[in-house]
Structure formats: structure tokens, C-alpha cells
Subunit: 148 residues, 2 copies
């Protein structure tokens, strides 16, 4: 493994990079235009929304999220300040805290989804048919299923 890549490999790589940049830029811009918080906030709010009243510990949110520990720590501080989440000391672990979403946080996530889903539809949805979507998903999922 790890010989020099063939040209078609590089082409696929470039297509992947550009596609994601392009699509994500579009969504980020939409968020901004609508006065909504940046992209990463959505994922956190969504995790917390799913978790419900009991909330989550920061280290639980961190799993599967592509943020380093200190990044999440500061993100939560900002979200707290914005009134979207609440942080209370964990009852079971003196080092930790429970993070729960607030009503305002839930509303904001909903607002973000309105914009986000439009972005997904106008990029991916309006470009590919169902079969193509499934092909993309099947293929690309292989990339992050493995340890590289």
C-alpha cells in the first residue's frame, strides 16, 4: 500500500475536496445571511436536543464530533453565553458537568435546520437522483469507516 497514486485517484481526491468546500461554503454563507450561528453549533445542538433533559457530558459530545477537547470547551462556553445551553456540575463526577439544551437552543436548532436543509437540498438533492445519492453514500462511507 501507499505507492504513488494513479491519476484517477488524484482526480477523485480533488473532486472530493472541492465538492465539500463548495457545498459547505454555501451552507455557511446561508447561516450567516440569516443571522444564525456557524455550522458546528448545529451538530452540538442536535446532539443535545436528541439527548433530552438529562443532557450530555462534554466528553460524550466530543465523541464522533470533529472538535478537539479545548475547542468544544470553548464552544460550549460561547453557546452558554448565547443562552443555547446550560452547564451544571455533574452530580456523579466532581470533575465534570452536564450540558443541556435550552428552549432557545432548541428553537435555534430548528431555525438552523430550515436553512441547513435547504442548503443540502439545493446542493446534493438537486444535483443527484436517488441512486446516485446511495452510490455516494455507500462509497464515501468506506472512507471514514476505516482507520487510515
Amino acid at each position: 500500500m501507499s505507492k504513488k497514486p494513479e491519476e484517477y485517484v488524484v482526480d477523485a481526491w480533488i473532486a472530493l475536496l472541492r465538492a465539500k468546500e463548495h457545498a459547505l461554503d454555501h451552507v455557511e454563507k446561508s447561516f450567516k445571511e440569516n443571522g444564525l450561528p456557524p455550522f458546528f453549533w448545529y451538530d452540538v445542538l442536535w446532539e443535545l436536543d436528541k439527548a433530552g433533559e438529562k443532557g450530555l457530558r462534554p466528553y460524550e459530545i466530543e465523541q464522533g464530533m470533529l472538535l478537539p477537547q479545548y475547542g468544544l470547551s470553548r464552544l460550549l462556553a460561547r453557546m452558554d453565553k448565547a443562552g443555547y445551553v446550560e452547564r451544571t456540575p455533574s452530580p456523579v463526577d466532581g470533575r465534570g458537568q452536564q450540558v443541556t439544551i435550552t428552549e432557545q437552543g432548541r428553537e435555534t436548532r430548528q431555525n438552523m435546520w430550515e436553512v441547513y436543509s435547504k442548503g443540502i437540498q439545493s446542493t446534493v438533492g438537486d444535483t443527484f437522483n436517488e441512486e446516485e445519492c446511495r452510490t455516494i453514500q455507500n462509497l464515501l462511507t468506506r472512507l471514514h469507516r476505516q482507520k487510515v
Copy 2:
């Protein structure tokens, strides 16, 4: 257009995001481990290397690059400081400058490519066969060919 996305659309979107993050993180990490500059530098060095002795104007580099004007301006300043590029006043436009790659810049680009190509191979190349690569390229290229 722009109705709510179907589930398979969202799945494809998520796969796209994660795949790119995952693969790019891997490459960025490799650069760092090898004491090389970050990812974006590669693209700029590559453009300049291709351009040869006559170099490029910053606004020419900016085209097709996913950096804002001020981002490129400061990136070039850093690359200049690092000794990878030279900036001289443009002979034909008093407002502008010509940017050329230095020998050291060329070497660094080469070193980056050694690492970069291994990353591409070990993510995309070792995961997909030729047909799959072409499928990915054909599909994803549609995403940024269009105005969204």
C-alpha cells in the same frame, strides 16, 4: 427546487462531509508530523511552480482558490517571510505585484507532495478501485460545476 431533502440526500451529504474531514485531517496531520506547512500552502506553491519564472499576480492566484483576498494577502506575506516566494512590484501595474516561487519554495512543494501523495493514496487510493474513483469524480464534479 429546494423542498425538504429526502433521507437518502441527507445521508449522502453526511457521508460527503465526514469523508472529506476525515481524509483531510489525515493529510494535515501528516504535514504537521513532517514539519511541513499547512495544506493551503501546497496549492499556492503548486500554482506558482506551474507559472514558472514570470510568476503570478495575487489576484490570479486567488481565482479558483478558496481563499478570500485578505487571506491570500497574508498567506503570501507568511510564505515570503518563510522564504518560499518572492514578491516584487508589478512592472505593468503600480498597484500590484508579481509573486514568484523560490528554489526553497519548489523544494518544499516537492517535500509536501511526497507526504500529500501518500495521504491521497492511503485514503482514496487504497479504498477505491479505478472504476469507483471515476464514479466519485464524475459525480462530485457536478457539485461545483454549477452555481448553487
